[in-house]
Amino acid sequence: MVRAALSNKSGALNAGPVAGASVIPVATVFAGSALAALPIVSSSGWWPNAGFLMLIAWRLLRTDPWPIWWAAPMGFANDLLTGAPIGLSVAWWTAVMLAMELVDRRSQWRDYWVEWAIATVLIAADRWADWQVAGLAGAPVAFVHIVPAIAFGVLAFPLAAMIVSRADRWRSGR
């Protein structure tokens, strides 16, 4: 029996993390940022920022998807891919990681609705920061223009959370 268990690699006993499990979260966030390369010519800019959604979905699911400082290079890649002012996502994504450390320490319990509420605050803050920086760069649009963008981001978050939880289960071999 023991010999048979050792030879059978596909059994549940031998299931472990897939190869490269530690870089899969980063890869999914990068893929989210790379969605900016889709050939969508929009006149409004209301689509959710997929890279940021993946980032907060991973961070809300686990405390350790990546070392905390990796947010800076991931943000740099996001800035380059989406054409945002370089440095915006570097600073903001790292700030989100630090803020989530505080949220983790302060919060007593967490369920689906609390996670969605935290995500709502973070998505709204993300669009607000983007709006502020656009204003500083010489493009101050009215605040009402970013409200639909926030709504679409909040509604798209459960999808990102589902993708992330599937990816996490797959990468840890469960």
Binding site: P67, I86, A91, I146
Partner: protein, 294 residues
């Protein structure tokens, strides 16, 4: 029992140190990010190289995907055209007759114009196109309005050049990679185009609103000079954009100006043409707008 001062990953010194240094590195990353952000706001040209390189990497993917999307939408749209072909046919015939009359009128005007110009001894400026490319993508995740154009520095495109389609003005190039470039659309809030109305020639300014429309304001304060359906064309003032390129059509009036829809729809235009800067002296001002300009 009091809660521990921070998250402790057990008794392992190594794990504790790596967590601590991770935190220090994150704070350093935050500061570096803020410095980079300030630099990109104050001196956007500092990142021209790296932004151009990133464009070169992503634009081919966008271009290939956009071919697929164009084919699919073309098939669907083509099928839709068959749906009420008879009615469309009648409408198009009426439109063609009307257009033919207009063409004859404008040919006469053109001929007269040529004779008058010859009499005055004016020489036409040579407005040769630099390159023609496809609009393959846009900044659909941001309040800024940018589009990705499939031609770059290797085709002669440089930062500051105006981009137009057959229908009208699209915007100007702000980042140029070697095979792709980023265009600041006229619907972006920071893009201000000196213009005039086609009817009456009243000088106006067109400013983007960030949602695909433009805000049109007359330079002189007074009675609102606009009417619904007015066509706004560029005036060439400032030297950045060539004159007499259609910009927008007025769709709504407000108390001291009007709201317009750009005539060149970047999502529908198949080709966009990059042109020479109308007055080369203006390019320096276009590349480096003074910081803090609102």
């Amino acid at each position: 029992m009091a809660a521990p001062a921070g998250p402790r990953p057990g008794w392992s010194r190594k794990a504790q140190y790596s967590l601590f240094f991770g935190l220090v590195a994150a704070i350093a990353g935050l500061i570096v990010g803020l410095i980079m952000l300030v630099l990109s706001l104050v001196a956007p040209s500092a990142y021209a190289g790296v932004r151009g390189a990133a464009l070169d990497i992503t634009a081919p993917i966008t271009g290939a995907l956009s071919e697929v999307a164009t084919t699919v939408t073309g098939v669907v749209g083509g099928a839709g055209d068959y749906w009420n072909a008879a009615e469309q046919n009648a409408g198009l015939k009426r439109e063609r007759l009307e257009l033919r009359r207009q063409i004859i009128r404008s040919k006469a005007v053109l001929q007269e114009n040529g004779q008058l110009k010859a009499a005055l001894g004016l020489r036409e400026r040579n407005e040769s196109a630099i390159a023609a490319g496809r609009i393959v993508g846009s900044s659909f995740e941001s309040t800024r309005r940018f589009a990705i154009l499939s031609v770059g520095r290797s085709d002669g495109v440089e930062v500051g050049m105006p981009v137009r389609t057959a229908d009208g003005l699209v915007g100007r190039v702000i980042d140029a990679g070697s095979s792709a470039s980023r265009v600041l659309l006229i619907s972006d809030r920071s893009n201000i185009v000196p213009a005039r109305t086609l009817r009456g020639g009243i000088p106006v300014l067109s400013t983007g609103r960030g949602d695909g429309t433009v805000d049109i304001r007359p330079l002189e304060v007074g009675r609102n000079p606009f009417k619904r359906g007015d066509i706004i064309v560029s005036s060439g003032t400032g030297g950045l954009y060539p004159p007499l390129v259609p910009i927008a059509r007025v769709i709504r009036l407000d108390d001291d100006g009007a709201l317009g829809v750009p005539l060149a729809d970047p999502s529908k235009a198949s080709f966009a043409i990059v042109e020479r800067v109308f007055e080369p002296a203006a390019i320096a001002a276009a590349i480096a707008p003074p910081p803090g300009e609102r």
